[in-house]
């Protein structure tokens, strides 16, 4: 590990540790923002793993957010499962549903794949409109009588924060673990040249399926938590392509697609802009979109690419370096 990597890893660990105690010293307003930042960080890390490292440019990740929102709702409000327990359960639901989805969309290539994922997400949205127990499209609330029974407001708020914090840490560790494993090697080979990777023995459907399920699960867990936080499930918002895919794509492009550090840099920019524009979501969307468009022209590898040009080092050591001196 290089010196830069070591400093980066220690720094990142410190930031997460300090963040973990935030509810004990931080302001309520800031805590609300941080939950947003951490959930977007998790979504960005996962989309980067999918599109940046595996070449699966999905624009249908909102489908898993929506499915998770409704699965969390039916578990915790309609049934007696603890809402925070429903988070990992919703992740599993998304992983399971992602299998038939993959069998369908993996037949498509490039732009058709992207459109396919979006269409599938839209189909799931329309399906939930037809299900009466899920409110048939009307706004559904998590109530203190059912889902939140036994939870005080303060406890709930802190549990949401720590869950978001754990999801972001988990997503970070998952990225490092996946990219350092055999799977990570295969994924990047498939991304760069799928036929070539197959010719060298890689089972491309299998490796794509594995990463697709991992990302669906984490996206689902995040989706469930987002809706526990908002305490409502609205059909249009839960399946919003703008909120759960476009904004995430902007963040990753600004930070750096296919760079482990990209999502963190991108979400940093997201944070600054959110702070500047307070709650004007439309303007935030426009500014981030414009920034992403500019970035894709100026530096296709985002801020991470600019930093790399200036000083090449990896904060997360995921490249397999051969120590030639040893041989």
């Amino acid at each position: 590990m290089s010196r830069g990597s070591r400093i980066g890893t220690v720094g990142m660990t410190l930031i997460f540790v300090v963040l973990g105690f935030f509810p004990l010293y931080g302001s309520d307003r800031m805590q609300v923002t941080l939950v947003q930042v951490l959930t977007y960080l998790t979504l960005a890390i996962m989309w980067n793993l999918l599109a940046g490292y595996s070449g699966l440019v999905s624009v249908g990740q909102q489908g898993f957010i929506g499915i998770a929102a409704y699965s969390m709702f039916s578990m915790s409000e309609l049934n007696s499962i603890d809402p925070f327990v429903s988070v990992p359960l919703s992740a599993m639901v998304c992983a399971a549903i992602s299998i038939p989805v993959a069998l369908l969309v993996f037949r498509l290539r490039g732009g058709y794949f992207a459109i396919g994922t979006w269409v599938v997400a839209e189909v799931f949205r329309l399906l939930t409109l037809e299900i009466n127990v899920l409110g048939a499209g009307n706004v559904q609330s998590l109530t203190t009588k059912n889902a939140f029974s036994g939870y005080g407001l303060e406890v709930r708020k802190n549990l949401v924060f720590w869950s978001a914090w754990m999801l972001a840490i988990g997503a970070t560790l998952t990225t490092i673990f996946v990219l350092r494993s055999r799977l990570g090697l295969a994924l990047q080979a498939v991304r760069d040249d799928a036929d070539g990777a197959r010719g060298l023995g890689v089972d491309i459907t299998r490796v794509r399926m594995i990463i697709w399920m991992i990302v669906a699960a984490w996206t689902g867990a995040t989706g469930a938590l987002i809706h526990i936080n908002s305490a409502t499930v609205t059909n249009r918002d839960a399946f919003s392509v703008a909120s759960w895919t476009a904004l995430v794509v902007f963040i990753v492009i600004i930070g750096g697609v296919g760079s482990t550090i990209g999502p963190y840099l991108g979400v940093g920019v997201y944070w600054i802009i959110t702070e500047q524009l307070k709650q004007q979501n439309t303007w935030r969307f426009i500014v981030l979109g414009a920034l992403a468009a500019t970035m894709s022209v100026v530096s296709p590898k985002g801020i991470a690419g600019l930093i790399h040009r200036w000083k090449p080092f990896e904060i997360f050591p995921v490249t397999r370096r051969l120590e030639v001196g040893k041989e």
């Binding site: 295969a186 990047q188 060298l200 397999r320």
Partner: protein, 239 residues
């Protein structure tokens, strides 16, 4: 023992590219394939590795019909190809490129993956570039990497498609030495090459192709002296 056999393969894209093509390779043999541009040589190797499905005919590896087997399985069985146009995994390093082949294309003890990868880099003189990003390589190094990746999968049969194309005379000389060395170590080789004098140094048998068909097969000097082959070649050189 016959290790590889192509039986009566035909393939039509826009026009016919392979027409009733057959050939077989014995274990440990080095076979050269020559023929003018567009004769169907590359397509033939693509049929062998599974990148192209023949319209009719079959491919056999060690007495097993592999015609329906996908290319990743064929690689693991022991067939590897260095393509005419190298396409490395650009975002990975040179080492990671060969490690992919050693890890997924090779059946055996996983703890040897890195050693096998390193060995292939040593053979192809790429060790010094191990940590370079493959996308930044020169043409010569890309060709070396293409060969290194095929070697790292530790094949039984190594297929080479014009790996000397575009190299200088001195580079070709070094390459011929490498291929002979690999062959002497026991590797079965099928080598397509336009640079015939390079091929003649390694091949023990020569197959000549024209318009998707085999027009000669046998001792290299006999094949090159064959009137049909001379006509095809003189035709090319006369242009």
């Amino acid at each position: 023992m016959t290790v590889l056999e192509v039986r009566d393969v035909s393939k039509t894209f826009v026009g016919p590219v392979l027409e009733g093509m057959s050939f077989s390779v014995e274990n440990g043999e080095a076979v050269g394939i020559v023929g003018p541009n567009g004769a169907g040589k590359t397509t033939l190797l693509n049929v062998v590795v599974g990148d192209v499905t023949p319209d009719v005919g079959s491919v056999w590896f060690k007495q097993q019909n592999i015609t329906a087997l996908p290319s990743n399985h064929r690689c693991r069985l022991g067939i590897a190809k260095a393509s005419q146009i190298p396409r490395p995994f650009d975002g990975l390093t040179v080492f990671e490129n060969v490690l992919t082949a050693a890890t997924f294309g090779r059946v055996g003890d996983r703890s040897h993956d890195e050693d096998v990868a390193v060995e292939s880099l040593v053979t192809t003189d790429l060790l010094a570039k191990a940590n370079s990003v493959a996308g930044s390589l020169t043409l010569l190094d890309r060709k070396r990497l293409e060969l290194a990746r095929a070697l790292a999968s530790q094949p039984t049969v190594l297929l080479l498609d014009e790996i000397a194309g575009g190299l200088t005379e001195a580079e070709v000389h070094v390459l011929v030495e490498k291929v002979s060395q690999i062959h002497r170590a026991g590797m079965t080789i099928v080598w397509i090459e336009h640079v015939v004098h390079a091929l003649m140094k390694v091949a023990e048998r020569l197959i000549a192709m024209s318009f998707g068909q085999k027009i000669a097969d046998g001792n290299p000097s006999h094949v090159m002296a064959d009137p049909a082959v001379r006509e095809v070649y003189l035709g090319v050189e006369g242009e």
